[in-house]
Symmetry: C2
Subunit: 302 residues, 2 copies
């Protein structure tokens, strides 16, 4: 499981920071959170094959968070992508995509877009993970997302062998939670599965003020990626802009007892982001300012 920060700028891109986009590779399944202008190129630079992206989750419909979609869609179409592209986002998404498809002479020949306007709650219940959304405190209809890997139980192979169950198909059934019969005996999964181990959890706030909704969503997360637009010294501006300071994000990280906090959506006011990092670390030591192309590996829980 790997996260790649593709764009860590605030509303304006800078020399070093592209507009918001976060890539998640979960066991070869590619997901994108936000898609600011330039994201397709950032993926090329990062060596990510954007044709393999399944789902895109847009936090809100401010231009800096979705204006990379038209170009990405165009390139996918140009390269004759067959699989539909699933795009999730708050109300207004469908209308926006309609307008995108009316821009210039762009009309996809091959690419099919599936738009999903969502509200808070479960967005996707996959086979191995769940994605949920919660309303955050920014513009109307702003969402934060949580990627929650399913809990797993280790298969206790030695125990199964000791019980006289032969390796093979019966092992698989037990691993999947099915009860089996063998030589007239019944075996339950609980007999050969360890205690459940919680799955990994990643939370991305999009743009937001510090708020309880995020703290709840992020409870115990491995990685909290939080709006950290400003320093506390510039808090007056934060109030205007509906964003968080590094310190506010750190307080939320502490409250939610996450493992690591990554600040993103960094204002152009901070060409050197060290002060933001220090401000956050004074409150929550495991704080980092994300940089473009930063990769984080999230180890499996044991």
């Amino acid at each position: 499981m790997e996260i790649v920060f593709l764009g860590t700028a605030g509303s304006l891109p800078t020399e070093k920071r592209g507009l918001p986009a976060i890539f998640l590779d979960y066991m070869g399944e590619y997901t994108l959170f936000d898609c600011g202008e330039g994201t397709q190129r950032q993926m090329r630079i990062a060596g990510i094959n954007f044709m393999r992206i399944n789902n895109v989750f847009i936090t809100h419909l401010h231009a800096d968070h979705f204006m990379g979609l038209p170009g990405l869609m165009q390139s996918m179409d140009f390269l004759e992508r067959k699989k539909p592209l699933e795009i999730y986002g708050p109300p207004g998404l469908e209308d926006t995509l309609d307008h995108i498809l009316s821009l210039g002479t762009f009309k996809p020949d091959a690419l099919e877009i599936q738009a999903h306007e969502i509200d808070e709650g479960t967005v996707i219940k996959g086979e191995r993970y769940t994605i949920t959304a919660t309303r955050v405190s920014h513009t109307k209809n702003s969402l934060g997302y949580c990627f929650q890997e399913d809990a797993k139980r280790t298969f206790l192979k030695q125990k199964a062998l000791a019980l006289g169950i032969p390796e093979g198909n019966l092992f698989s059934k037990l691993q999947r939670g099915e009860t089996i019969e063998h030589k007239g005996k019944t075996f339950h999964p609980d007999q050969v599965l360890g205690e459940p181990v919680t799955g990994r959890k990643i939370v991305y706030t999009g743009d937001t003020r510090a708020c309880d909704a995020v703290a709840e969503l992020a409870e115990g997360a491995d990685i909290l990626i939080h709006d950290g637009t400003y320093s506390q010294e510039d808090i007056e501006k934060v109030e205007d802009r509906e964003h968080s300071t590094a310190a506010q994000a750190a307080h939320t990280a502490k409250k939610a007892d996450v493992k690591k906090l990554y600040l993103t959506h960094i204002s152009q006011r901070y060409p050197d982001p060290k002060p933001l990092e220090e401000e956050a670390r004074a409150i929550f030591p495991e704080s980092y300012v994300a940089e473009d192309f930063l990769k984080i590996k999230v180890p499996r829980h044991k």
Copy 2:
């Protein structure tokens, strides 16, 4: 007079090449030709203050040539630009800009957009230069642009003094082409102005097959910036794509007797563009493949 290549990629951006955009600084007056996705950031990287751009000329409404407009407009608005932004392009431009202004929650507070749908002929007659457009051979409604600096006549100061005309206001009038009277005598500008020296000429084709229209537009240009998407070896693909090969562009440059040819809109097939440059130089020695952030100074004619 300086040209900065901000994006030299073909339809797909690459690690090294952004989507099409060419910047022209004419004596402090900023003009942009095409505005592919990512252009605002390329300008930041190049150290160009995009707030100073007066006019944007879009060659055609394929997404890779204009999808940087929404983000640029948004940033100009965010930074509270007061001056209207003038955008010129082929029919369909106004409709496209309307759709851009309906994307997401983007609605400019401060920024005024002046859209100008144009056809071939004179687009702008400025005080010091003229911009003309011609239809090129690509998609329907594709334009190439010519920036033509006005011809200038040198003021022959010694000659004026010898005629007894005093320095000052009368000099200025003669320079502007006015006839003056001094001490009962009449003086005509021709008496004190040298032979006209032609102005500098820059031509940008946008996407196009090699065609006579471009050769005519580019006649005697200082700089011809030409579609050079493919090598001659890949000509089959060029016919599909309505683009030029390096060799075809070079033939046009030779025919038009330009000073220098710059190839742009380079396909991702050529991570090393040397073969394109060599292919062009075999026909027209003053050929170059443009790179992102390449700057060309165009010296004043004497």
